[in-house]
Structure formats: C-alpha cells, structure tokens
Symmetry: C2
Subunit: 140 residues, 2 copies
DNA sequence: TACACTGTACTATATCACTAATACACCTTT
DNA sequence: AAAGGTGTATTAGTGATATAGTACAGTGTA
C-alpha cells in the first residue's frame, strides 16, 4: 500500500489522503471501478481514525472521484467530463497558479516551457484523448 | 484597494490575504520595494483584526516575500532566486499538480498545451529573464 | 523631547476544524 | 436470522483561528 500521512505536517490528514488518492488515480495506480480499501482497513494501516478516512472518501465522492455505498464499499468512479465552461475556468485558474508559483521561484520562461513540455510528454498517455489530433514525434 | 476576504469561505482569512498579496506581487500590482499598507489601515479596510493582517505579513516575511521593520512598515521584498535544486523540485511539483488537475478535469493534451502557451505568453514579461539579465527598473 | 506613526506581544474569549472513540445503519453471505 | 463485512452518525476533546483590548517596542519628525 502506497499511502502515507504525517499528522505533524500541519496539513489535515484527510487532505493529505485526498491528494494521494487523486494522484494515484491520475497516475493509474488506481483504475476505474476498482474497490478502495475499507475505511477501517486503511485507518488501521495508517494508524489513524476510520472517520478521518471516511471524511476523505466523502469529499472525494462529492467531487465525483469516488463512489461509495453503505455496506458495499468505495470505488473509483469513472472520469467524467464536466461543463465545458467550468473546465475552461478551472484550467485557467490552475495555469494562473502555476505562473504565480513560477514567478515566486524566479523560474525563467524557457525553463518553465521546457519543464512543461517534458512533463506533458510523460503524461500524454494518461490524459484524455482529444478530438483526433494524434501526431507523435514532434519535439523541438 | 484590491484586497477582499470572505470570513465564510472556510479558508482562513490570513491565508486568503497571503494569496492575494502573492498574486498582486506576481502580476505587478505591487512592485519591489513598495510599501504595504499598515496592519491597522488594512485591517480597518477589510473589517478584520490587525492581528490577522500581522499574521499574514509575518508568514510572508518568513517566505521572503515581504520585508518588515518595526516603526517603518512592511515592504515588498526583492525577488530572489533560491537554491537551484530546490527550484527544480518545486517547479516539478507544481507541474505534477497541474497534470493531476488536468486529468481530473478531462482536459486533453492539446487543450492543455495551447492553454499553457497562451498563459505563458501573457506572463512572459513578468517572469525572470533567462540568459541576458536586463533590468530596466530606473523609473521613479 | 514629544509626538505620531510603524509592527509586535500579550492576555482573554469565542468559534470552528480536526481527530478520536463509540455506537448505529446498511449490504452480502451463510 | 445471524454474522461479518461495509460506510456513517454522534459525541467529545484538543488545537487552530479570529477577535478584542491593551500594552510594548522601534523609527522618523516637529
């Protein structure tokens, strides 16, 4: 099991857990439809309270990332495309945040650009497929 | 004054304030060396407690984003380049986060790439210069 | 010096977030 | 029905957050 939380980090445990689960899903460690460990089992492994795990699961369900049912368990939901407009706004916000971060870090435009290209290449297969544009092998 | 905080948002006021100040600096609304409003003045305008503003200022000083001195006030610090290795790690982390976000949003690679390019173009002049270090900051 | 500004420290208080312990509700299998 | 798994509600304790009020400390200026 790849989860790890630090109660002393200042970041709420359930938030840490949410982030790790999101990442696990995005990277493919967890697949659509897969059953998550039970709240008790995961709580036992992380030495935390089942309610803390439950809170993480609940919030992830509100975000449509998990699907849970009493007596059955929690499962990884299918990725679903949200509103076009909301998607655009959320993406813009994320990019804005990235730029602010880059500014604070004194990262120059070229370094940022190169870093992005590399990272995108690594993630290309994980991201959802677009309209049709499938043109590999073009690297500047 | 462009600051705005919402006590009901769930996010601590001092955190909201920190984010807005960071953004203001990154976008150029606040310039290096500029004096920040006093804790009392800003507290009065936002209808919050001076201690809350002070806490935001203090944390920003710890992050080397502000410089404050008793009797003088708080000022926007000069952007300084951190450790090369830390910079790289932080940037990679930020990019990783962006990818996870894009995955959750079901944004395809092309849309993400185009969005990034556009955003980068808008921010190019704000980001630090790479090879040649030109610094035309002698107006005023 | 006296004064007016700056940030800071110190209580005290109220509220809320976070976590934990316990008990409850639901589903499947025997 | 019983048992053993699932998630969830309830309650309570602890700490973070925000407020208010007061006092202190440093700087610049009249």
């Amino acid at each position: 099991m790849w989860y790890y939380v630090d109660p002393q980090s200042g970041v709420p445990i359930y938030v840490q857990l949410k982030e790790q689960i999101k990442k696990a899903i995005a990277t493919g460690l967890l697949t659509e439809g897969e059953q998550m460990p039970s709240v008790r089992e995961l709580a036992l492994q992380l030495t935390i309270n089942p309610n803390t795990v439950s809170k993480a699961y609940q919030e992830l369900e509100r975000e449509r990332i998990l699907q849970t049912a009493r007596g059955l368990g929690s499962f990884v939901a299918k990725r679903r495309k949200g509103n076009e407009q909301e998607q655009k706004i959320a993406l813009d916000k994320a990019l804005e945040k990235l730029m602010i971060e880059a500014y604070q870090l004194s990262v120059d435009a070229d370094t940022l650009h190169n870093g992005f290209i590399d990272k995108l290449a690594a993630w290309k297969d994980r991201l959802v497929k677009g309209a049709k544009n499938n043109d590999p092998g073009n690297r500047t």
